[in-house]
């Protein structure tokens, strides 16, 4: 089994089959006590993770560093290109060639779409895409799936409402496709201008899934088992007043949640601005902080498999 992973890149979620994603989630399950610090691991002692973050990131970068440390390995790299040779105008290709010789696995966050595919082209070691601009963010997708599976014991048949900006956030597109692959029922809640693009709807149809499309949260709320909230970005709107009107109608608070199923779980990739009122944090609906934690065991599983230190 490990041969299916060892040395492979993880650039886009579709690089991995459903079986492989399940294998990652099963292993992530076993990693949870180690990620919590209740157990110790020496699986990746002596291994080095090259961590190149050309864009700011808190959760993704720290959870990768934590994941590698929990496996006994070390991390080198930078969290902003300033001060590195990148600032002097070095190409990404050259930076990757260099880090490839200093490390056993490369984690890349870059502002340009397709940068991780380029890195995978130039690196001999496995490359993990930790977000390439508006492109893919596959480890986020897998940890989202893992979080749903952990909270609901399964993904198949679970009704998931994706809420917010469904048009521009391509991580939401990959998540929708992955959820469809795992047999979830999908609901899309967004203002008309920010609804799921036609191409994504078409690929979902190919997977045999017909999502329900709504304009307001209230319409989707009674049936939802999981509500996945994303941020609506101000810069998407030419008119500030229009933004405020739209964003205001996609806020989650306790009054709204009165009509929800008691077991409804709310997820958010974070950081949130004001999409979820902090009063919701105290309720049983809030799953987003746990979701952020699951980034560690899921990334431990991915690192261990791509490094080939586990079968």
């Amino acid at each position: 089994m490990s041969q299916d992973f060892k040395g492979k890149d993880l650039v886009a979620i579709r690089d991995f089959s459903k079986d492989k994603i399940e294998r990652i989630m099963d292993l992530a399950e076993k990693m949870v006590p180690i990620a919590k610090g209740e157990e110790r691991s020496k699986l990746a002692v002596g291994y080095v993770q090259g961590s190149l973050f050309f864009e700011p990131s808190t959760r993704t970068r720290l959870s990768f560093a934590s994941a590698m440390a929990r496996l006994g390995g070390t991390t080198l790299g930078f969290d902003q290109p300033g001060g590195s040779s990148v600032q002097k105008g070095e190409t990404l290709a050259d930076t990757i060639r260099m880090v490839d010789t200093y490390s056993d696995i490369i984690v890349l966050r870059h502002y340009a779409e397709g940068s991780a595919r380029l890195a995978a082209h130039f690196a001999n070691k496995p490359v993990i895409n930790a977000g390439d601009g508006a492109g893919q963010h596959p480890t986020q997708t897998i940890l989202d799936l893992f979080t749903i599976r952990k909270a609901k014991k399964k993904i198949e048949g679970i009704s998931v409402a994706l809420v917010g900006d469904l048009k521009y956030g391509r991580t939401v597109h990959s998540l929708a496709e992955a959820l469809a692959l795992f047999g979830a029922n999908l609901m899309f809640v967004a203002p008309a201008a920010l609804q799921m693009p036609k191409e994504t709807l078409r690929s979902l149809e190919k997977l045999g899934v017909t999502p329900k499309v709504f304009n307001t949260i209230e319409q989707a709320l009674p049936d939802a088992d999981v509500m996945y909230v994303t941020r609506i970005q101000k810069e998407r709107f030419p008119d500030l007043a229009e933004y405020q009107k739209v964003a205001g109608s996609y806020k989650i608070n306790n009054a709204l949640l009165k009509d929800a199923k008691p077991e409804l779980s709310i997820m958010h990739p974070l950081p949130r601005i004001d999409e979820i009122n902090p009063e919701v944090d105290q309720t049983a609906h809030a799953l987003y902080f746990q979701q952020a934690f699951f980034g560690v065991p899921v990334r431990m599983a991915i690192l261990a498999l791509l490094l080939g230190v586990i079968d």
Binding site: A93, E113, G114, L118, H121, G133
Partner: protein, 147 residues
Amino acid sequence: MTPIRNGTVIDHINFGMALKVLKIIGIKGENVQSTVSMLLHVPSKKAEWKDIVKIEDRELDPRELDKIALISPNATINIIRDYNVAEKFVVEVPNIVKGIVRCQNPGCITNQNEPIEPEFIVESKKPLLLRCIYCDRIMTDVSDYLI
């Protein structure tokens, strides 16, 4: 148009694309020593209208043919030798498009001075659908993005 002795006749060009075809084959003026003729908006039996380009003393290389296929998938190439049609074929869109089209996504890594050639998988030939292997962006009209 007078018949040409040696050279290439490109027929069934999508109308409006003849000037782009001239650009593809590098007809710029000072470098051309032979006759180049062009017919625009000619009635066509296959489509409603077409363009035609004739170039004397010139045959096309595969890279030029691929580019013509991308902007005019029904174009036919007639290679003329000594006033006779020596070869005639329809251009063909390749399965992989590498190094001849720029990605239209300005945020794509291939537009950032990296040492790589842009590359696309042809998801569909008619209608044309190219997917950038780097950023995943789908392109349908490449006429303004030829390299």
